[in-house]
């Protein structure tokens, strides 16, 4: 009559003595797979400011601003407003240069709302990039100038020889 009742008691008692399945979270952690969508990471130097991620995002989480220095685009702002993020990974998929990636960090809670938004691009990074571009441009210009000078130096002689 009460077979099921007794069987149920047997199951719970059996479980009572068996090892437990819970993980003691802050001390123990489960391994996360590589594809895990945690906190996003942005690689400033890889970004080519193509706006693909901005367009791929369903929730318009990413704000990207650029400045043109010497005909080259420099990312001046890359804000990732995490509170609206769906963690769908479409931005990561859209990026042709792997400049945005999701890390395994899942502890995203913050005490203050302004801290939720990640501002990836720091002014000094922009400065550095700008300086780099300028330097590169200057170097290029210098190299070109040097080359021109060299040619100039060689050319008169050649001209002389030729004439």
């Amino acid at each position: 009559m009460a077979k099921g009742l007794i069987k149920g008691l047997g199951i719970t008692l059996n479980r009572f003595f068996k090892p437990k399945v819970t993980v003691q979270y802050p001390e123990e952690r489960l391994p996360l797979p590589d594809r895990f969508y945690g906190r996003p990471e942005f690689y400033y130097d890889k970004c080519i400011a193509c706006n693909m991620c901005v367009n791929a995002c369903p929730n318009r989480v990413i704000k990207l601003e650029t400045e043109t220095v010497d005909k080259k685009k420099v990312v001046t702002k890359y804000d990732f407003d995490q509170q609206y993020c769906l963690f769908c990974g479409l931005c990561q998929e859209a990026c042709p240069k792997d400049a945005i990636k999701f890390s395994k960090d899942f502890e995203l809670t913050r005490y203050h709302r302004p801290d939720i938004k990640i501002e990836f691009v720091k002014p000094e990074m922009v400065e550095r990039k700008k300086a780099e571009i300028k330097k590169a441009a200057a170097e290029k210009a210098a190299a070109e100038a040097a080359k021109a000078r060299e040619q100039e130096e060689q050319n008169p002689a050649a001209g002389k020889e030729g004439s």
Binding site: G8, L9, L13, R15, F16, F17, K20, V21, T22, Q24
Partner: protein, 349 residues
Amino acid sequence: MENLFVNMASGMRSLLASAGLPDTATDFILMFLKLGAILVYILISALWLVYMERKVSAYMQCRIGPNRVGPLGLLQTTADIGKLISKEIIIPRCADKKLFLLGPILIFMPPLAVFAVAPFGKDMVAIDMNIGVYYFLAVASLSTVIVWMSGWASNNKYSLIGGMRVVAQMVSYEMPLILSIVGVIILTGTLNMSEIIRAQENVWFIFLQPLGFLIYLIAGVAETNRAPFDLVEGESEIICGPFTEYSGMGFAMFFLAEYANVVLVSVMATTLFLGGWHAPFGLTFIPSWIWFLLKVYVMIFLFMWFRWTYPRVRVDQLMEFGWKVLVPLSIANIFVTGIGKYLYQTIRW
């Protein structure tokens, strides 16, 4: 060890007597101390049981349970109670304020009053009343009124339904509970708890009254409002029944009183069916009161085991089961016990 508490009491008595107090004053102070000790026991026990319940449920569900506050999480309940005390007591606007506040205050009274007659060990009973069992049944059922009162005073429909369920359930299950005990009373011929325990020196009544014990167990679960008969709280149906509107300490009082009731029913089961403080297999080197508490906690574990295994019955099924199964069975049990005793006596003499 055996006479630890008895000696403490007599030592206290002689100390007070040597201080030149009159006998009545000594008795009075001593009684006060005894009841105080019981009060402390119940409160600590309730705290422990909340922890035990959480651990037992966790272990049955493949979890670990509380393990952060204090060693092994032992202080978890204390912390919870501390939190509940510090919380605001919210009184709903349309509630009957006086009755609403009276509920949690009174809810602890019936179990406390009943514990006065509970024999915790050899000669360890605060008041050795000759109608102890009767007193237990009478006072324990008082909590029905208090729970119903709180359900009514909350002025919440869920609370009201819960309160009505309390009354229906308690009335229905008080019957088989009492009738199942009658068998024991027929066997011993006394209502005194100590006498009943003494009568079980050779054989526990669980072996003479297996059906009586089973009925007592089922009705006891129903009396304490625990699964599978936790219709009064019925979390998935009526949220928390009569306690829905209570917050903070008011809720904590009901919560702790539930555990006090569990201890109470277990104490009674131990006294009436499990041989009270008698040691099984002649293991008398362990003090009687330890045996008693051990049996009580085995009973409590049984209750918890039921709770974390069974689903809840429905209200009409509960009534049907009570009146159509348990009451006839317990009456049959009384008949069988009576005939058995008569036959035993006629053959013996």
